[in-house]
Symmetry: C2
Subunit: 138 residues, 2 copies
């Protein structure tokens, strides 16, 4: 499993309220943000704010309250996502959602570590990488 985190996703109760808070810190939301998600580039790590109900749907975590956090490892291909998920299963991870195509064009699966921390494995063709394996978002 490649050792990197590309995105941290924070489950929020009200996206507009939470986005406004981070903007008051002086952080600028990326152009890739929309009414459903806000992205901030934190020195090569993408912070994303996402509705708690939407996150519950994506992860299959029934109680994905505001306060839930997921970490994503983005990979270059669907095969790489499948291989990483197999590696996680081999290490004793719990499957949350098997890798699958999403309506927005990604290929995504989730596993949980021994304490239930959710990790996303994702191939998102519209999010390119820089030379250091970090995401480039407009």
């Amino acid at each position: 499993m490649i050792p990197r985190v590309n995105l941290i996703t924070l489950a929020v109760a009200d996206l507009a309220v939470s986005r406004a808070f981070y903007e008051r810190l002086g952080w600028k939301a990326k152009a890739a943000s929309n009414p459903y998600v806000a992205f901030f580039d934190l020195n090569g790590l993408i912070l994303s704010l996402y509705g708690k109900d939407a996150l519950a749907g994506d992860t299959g975590i029934a109680d994905a309250k505001a306060g839930c956090v997921t970490m994503a490892i983005n990979l270059e291909s669907q095969d790489a996502v499948d291989a990483a998920m197999a590696e996680a299963m081999g290490a004793g991870a719990t499957l949350l959602t098997a890798p699958h195509d999403t309506p927005w064009g990604g290929y995504v699966g989730y596993f949980a570590d021994p304490d239930g921390h959710p990790w996303e494995l994702a191939c998102v063709p519209m999010f390119p990488f820089d030379a250091n394996g970090r995401l480039i978002l407009d």
Copy 2:
């Protein structure tokens, strides 16, 4: 507030169990790890595994269960920590613990965003930065 995340800390029930899980993914714990915390370098972001009770003590979050996550912005000076905390308060953050000296040599405070996501502001002299503001851990 400088837009960066230096560490993600995952609250764990049993550090040995959780460390072994991440090592089975093929990730190598840094030499700076010890019986109380395990550090992994994820492409310039430090992932730390830390006991849930210790995290509860540090953050003042009474219900810091396994599954709780904190994000840290490391800064170069205690003054920078104080200034960043003042900025967070001005943006409407909730104070969790005011910046203070710790027994292990850091200067640390925590605030929460509108959904309760905890952020740590830290000056840790023994953790140097690289040219890109990322931590260098042995």
